[in-house]
């Protein structure tokens, strides 16, 4: 009688790794860091120039939200124009 061999295998993981096992590179793509780093540099410079007019709780968090709302579509538009020429 023919016997079939069943090999024991470790369960195959599907989907992404759990967050607590993920590396920095897996969680933060470079484009993500780029947008926030650019925002941080601009906000830092604005802070030096305008001090408490900018470095306050009303303007500060709003600056980052508006930046991320606007920057990616503006960047895509610029890249389209550059590549289109």
């Amino acid at each position: 009688m023919e016997q079939t061999k069943v090999e024991s295998r470790a369960p195959v993981r599907t989907g992404p790794k759990p967050i607590n096992k993920s590396s920095f590179r897996e969680l933060y793509p470079s484009w993500d860091i780029g947008y926030y780093a650019a925002a941080a540099i601009v906000y830092f410079l604005l802070g030096l120039a305008f001090r408490d007019k900018v470095l306050n709780i009303g303007v500060g968090p709003l600056f980052f939200v508006v930046w991320i709302w606007i920057a990616p579509p503006v960047w895509q538009w610029v890249m389209k124009r550059v590549n289109g020429r």
Partner: protein
């Protein structure tokens, strides 16, 4: 008074409490204790009308004054109100109470301290690590704070988040933990037509603000103003002791 720790410590709590709290609740709680007091403490002038208290320390932290707003029990009252306003959302209740209490506990480290255990104990509890400098005005307070152990406090909280809780700022963490824990994010998405990247920006905004605020003020205070460092206990030396009540 802390200049960045209140914004940053929420991410530390978020890491340890996960889906049991609402991040927006934590944020509300962390900001709420100073809602009533910050403007009169530093002074505000509009159309010739000056709004400023004679004794900022007493008004902000004392009794009579609004010192009771920096206490765990005041946080409970606010959290109960938030619980009913959010249709009995437990995440918002715990978030608000923890954020509020953490703010009161953090402010305990300056020389004025906070009425942390009001109404059971009406005295101020103070560690006295850096001088309460609101009498110096907002700019003077910034110079004093970022020259003292207050700067160390903010930097330690920032380092704790960056070194031990950096994953909580990721998109995946937001989508798998922060957003499912709080229906307010879905509401923002639907009512404000807020794209996902902007919701994540709202979540990360106070981290970015807190971190860059530390860097900017340190550059202003020590680079442009040339203020000396005084990391002695209770410093900096040039801040006059506040008027006791």
């Amino acid at each position: 008074m802390s200049w960045a720790a209140h914004e940053l410590e929420n991410f530390w709590f978020q890491k340890h409490l996960g889906m049991r709290v609402s991040y927006l609740g934590l944020l509300l709680g962390a900001m709420a204790p100073d809602f009533l007091t910050k403007i009169p403490v530093y002074g505000f002038e509009f159309a010739g009308i000056v709004l400023r208290t004679d004794n900022p320390a007493q008004f902000h932290r004392g009794m009579p004054g609004f010192g009771f707003t920096s206490s765990i029990m005041a946080g409970l009252v606010v959290a109960i109100a938030v619980y009913f306003l959010t249709k009995r959302n437990r995440g918002w209740f715990w978030g608000t109470w923890i954020g509020y209490s953490a703010h009161a506990a953090t402010d305990m480290f300056d020389t004025a301290g906070t009425m942390l255990f009001w109404p059971f104990y009406n005295g101020n509890i103070s560690v006295g690590a850096w001088a309460y400098g609101a009498e110096e005005g907002k700019f003077g307070d910034a110079i004093a704070y970022f020259s003292s152990l207050g700067f160390v406090m903010d930097t330690v909280v920032l380092a704790l988040v960056v070194i031990f809780a950096w994953r909580v700022l990721s998109r995946r963490y937001f989508l798998s933990v922060v957003k499912p824990a709080d229906p307010a994010w879905g509401l923002m998405e639907r009512k404000l037509r807020m794209p996902e990247r902007v919701q994540i920006a709202v979540y990360r905004a106070f981290f970015m603000y807190g971190a860059v605020r530390i860097m900017s003020w340190v550059a202003i205070v020590h680079g442009f103003e040339g203020s000396p460092w005084d990391l002695s206990w209770g410093g900096p030396y040039w801040v006059e002791p506040f008027e006791r009540w």
